[in-house]
């Protein structure tokens, strides 16, 4: 029992003592996405918060997380601003090449729908 406790203790200490630095600047990304899903927060309000977050991310020297820029893209699309949408979609692709196939799919769909 004691050994087990000290094992847990070691985990506890190593977990917090090393203070792992987050990889990303999260800002209000997840809360804004939640507000988007529940419709408690409109697109304009989300854009203001998330674009202000971009500044803070720059100041903090950390990148914004996966999905942050693409979410800004869809918000601008909701407000009928295709240029802004495309700008953010491309930015997501540049920062995260893993998104390339999906972003290209979205841009094709958008072209077709026009």
């Amino acid at each position: 029992m004691l050994t087990r406790l000290s094992f847990v203790g070691a985990l506890v200490l190593s977990g917090c003592a090393t203070k792992p630095q987050p990889l990303y600047y999260w800002g209000d990304y997840q809360p804004q996405v939640y507000g988007h899903f529940t419709k408690d927060t409109g697109p304009q309000e989300q854009i203001e918060s998330l674009e202000a977050g971009l500044e803070k991310a720059r100041a903090s020297g950390k990148p914004v997380p996966p999905g942050y820029l693409a979410h800004l893209g869809i918000l601008h699309a909701e407000l009928q601003r295709p240029d802004e949408m495309r700008k953010y979609f491309e930015a997501e692709k540049t920062q995260y090449p893993e998104s390339t196939a999906y972003i290209d799919f979205l841009l094709r769909k958008y072209k077709q729908a026009k």
Binding site: R4, Q30, P31, A70, F105
Partner: protein
């Protein structure tokens, strides 16, 4: 407002979640290490999280959870597809509820999203129960990670978080710490289960937990876990 608290305290909460996760699962799963062979072979870099199936009575569960899955997975080193766009893509294809979305063929998901793996979450418990003495918010979810090329199951897990953690004294000092953070968050929240879902999501999906997800390519800890061969 409650979200800001959650964010500011994320590192602290995350640490506590790690502790609590270690405490909760460390002993129970001793001796039954997860077999990561398929996971390491697949070596996924990008994860498509489908909107979770909700088997709790609270309709808020699916999107409460979905909005909080990106952080643990991304901080573990994965690209996570933008959850809001993914949900919208399913809807525009005529699928409006998670059980239908979970039925989509893996090959089709691969074609549209170009993801390496898909994560299927089912929420088993989500909600607040009120008693005379105290209320408890509890969230339990399970998840399966599936390779979209080989269609193999790479990993599965389950996690729970509760606002009552540490309230029954056997949690010791750590339990008290968890409790202090949780009640601070919960008291200011309108949906009391939402921050608890955030903790459950972290415990379920952050790498570095016993039998948990492995670190992905964008993490500095990539390939340091899962009994990686030297």
């Amino acid at each position: 407002m409650q979200f800001e608290i959650l964010n500011v305290r994320f590192v602290k909460t995350a640490c506590l979640a790690v502790l609590a996760g270690a405490l909760a699962t460390g002993c129970a799963t001793r001796g039954q290490a997860f077999d990561y062979t398929a996971f390491k072979q697949s070596n996924p870099a990008s994860i498509l999280v489908l909107p979770p199936i909700n088997s709790s009575p609270d309709v808020a569960a699916t999107y409460s959870m979905l909005s909080q899955v990106t952080l643990p997975l991304a901080e573990s080193g994965y690209y996570v597809f933008p959850v809001s766009l993914v949900d919208e893509t399913f809807r525009q294809n005529g699928l409006s509820n998670p059980p239908e979305m979970h039925e989509v063929k893996l090959q089709k998901l691969r074609e549209i999203f170009g993801a390496d793996a898909a994560l299927y979450i089912t929420i088993k418990q989500y909600g607040t129960s009120y008693t005379v003495i105290a209320s408890e918010s509890r969230v339990t979810a399970e998840a399966r990670l599936i390779d979209l090329r080989s269609e193999k199951v790479l990993w599965k897990g389950e996690a729970t978080a509760s606002s009552a953690e540490g309230r029954n004294s056997n949690g010791g000092l750590v339990g008290l710490l968890v409790q202090a953070v949780i009640s601070q968050i919960v008291e200011s929240a309108s949906n009391r289960s939402h921050p608890i879902a955030g903790i459950a999501s972290y415990r379920l999906l952050a790498a570095g937990m016993p039998n948990g997800m492995l670190y992905g390519p964008r993490s500095p800890k990539y390939k340091t876990d899962g009994n990686a061969q030297p």
